[in-house]
Symmetry: C2
Subunit: 300 residues, 2 copies
């Protein structure tokens, strides 16, 4: 049985950075998540692509051990996104978005996958997130991402989803926007009162914050000296984190904290190269080495 | 003998924030530093004020145990700064700066104070910083702050000072500017090659980074839910940090890391109130309590 199910986008990304550019590379939230999670546990991704989706990308996912049986190939074009980063790499400009077959994405989870224990709802329409939760009857743990577009346009539906997930995984501006509160700590507390038992706030180069009713954990970012392309870092973080939780088999405070560090490690490898290049060929020693370095970074 | 000597500004600050405003309150880098350091070790501050400087402010410093014998009172007006913060509290607008007697500040360190073991050169003209270093013949440890104005206008003099201090304490934008390098980790490494054995990069609500030739330490900010006025937080941080080092009596990696956390604790109390109100009446239990919370915040 597949342990982790992730539902999200599968995309062809074109990215420009000051250090280079790439066209129609494998991307999308479900892809980054799945590749990162695959180092820790069995993972299946559900999404939709068009007939133009290159077979080599499906092969790349399968060779990483990602189960692609939930990927539907439909008549039409694959979701394409293009964006550009400046030297800061913190802010990006979206140049073009062609939703293609993703526009009518309406995932039906195959019955075997619907029995997954860990569910990741990447940044998609909260109505779809809610529908997936109802199908995932065997779940132990569900986490959810979102974005400003849904917070503004489908708040009621998003609230329904938030009431039913165990964890929200959002970036700092989304957390502030969800709570309508500028102070990040207060904002995170407020989101906790909306339903989830835990929230992880991703702060990019400033690390991540894990908060639940009882405690707070602050993880530094890995001190990357060569950030090449930040695309996918957030979903890679989620994949490493939930992958580790699925492997650990328990969701204690200690495991949650370690999971945040493993998410941080995976994200650090992601941003060093284009697309999934930085995370598709790692050894467990490379992962453990950065995990140790991260722990050392905050130890007294 | 006084253990710590700090040289910097003594000011009357007028501050507007979304939560309130205050006029001609006690401020200045030497003041914040001195008050914070006074909880850990003997500290003396050197600076200049005008005849208009209220006696009550000198009394407030003395009642905190700060030695004010190095404060010179000159004919003229005290340095006045006024600024305004928006809701973000990260960026501030300087409304007015009246240098007054601070314009011709030319510190002569009294001979007793020049024998101090720990020296903090707050953000003043690098020529003066250099001159003070030459007077401080008994020093074990000297740390230095600076700002964009001196990086741009007196780089050669600043380089001379940097070659002679043990530690630079700067914020993230100053670190990037000093190194002319956008990646903060690379920038900090580059500053280390300019002379100091260690650098502390202050990142405001994102914590602080300590780096030396051998290792790196990432400290989270204290999770403040009520940031009221960030004025003076950086100098308060430096005061807590160097105060703790002076108390510890040794500058090991472990002590440096603890010192960064004590600096963080003191800064967290500073930002909760106007002027020095948040840091002039703390108990050691209040300091230790936040120190424990900070350690818990990153422990696995």
């Amino acid at each position: 049985m597949v342990k982790i199910l992730a539902v999200g986008s599968i995309a062809l990304d074109s990215v420009k950075t000051p250090f280079g550019s790439i066209k129609d590379a494998l991307g999308g939230s479900a892809v980054y998540f799945g590749v990162a999670a695959s180092y820790f546990a069995d993972v299946s991704i559900v999404g939709v692509v068009g007939k133009d989706f290159p077979q080599k990308h499906l092969d790349a996912l399968r060779s990483r051990g990602v189960d692609t049986s939930g990927i539907v190939i439909e008549e039409g074009e694959t979701f394409r996104w293009s964006g550009e980063y400046g030297y800061g790499l913190g802010e990006r400009d979206t140049l073009e978005t062609h939703l293609g077959v993703f526009e009518k994405f309406n995932p039906l989870i195959p019955s075997e996958l619907s029995r997954s224990e860990f569910i990741f709802l990447a940044n998609i329409d909260p109505e779809l997130q809610f529908k997936i939760l109802r199908q995932a009857t065997n779940r132990n743990f569900a986490a959810c991402d979102t974005m400003d577009f849904w917070i503004e346009g489908k708040r009621k539906e998003l609230d329904e989803t938030m009431r039913r997930v165990d964890m929200m995984i959002v970036n700092d501006s989304e957390c502030r926007q969800l709570a309508e509160e500028p102070n990040l700590i207060k904002a995170a507390r407020k989101v906790l009162r909306m339903g989830p038992h835990a929230i992880v706030v991703k702060k990019g180069e400033h690390g991540a914050l894990l908060m639940n009713e009882k405690s707070m954990f602050s993880a530094p970012a890995f001190p990357c000296e060569d950030v090449f392309d930040p695309t996918g870092a957030g979903d890679t973080f989620a994949g490493g984190m939930i992958g580790y939780l699925a492997k650990a088999g328990e969701i204690s405070e200690r495991q949650l904290r370690q999971a945040v560090l493993y998410g941080t490690v995976m994200a650090s490898y992601c941003v060093e190269k284009f697309s999934i290049e930085g995370i598709c060929n790692l050894t467990s020693e490379e992962i453990e080495s950065r995990f140790r370095q991260l722990k050392e970074l905050t130890s007294i």
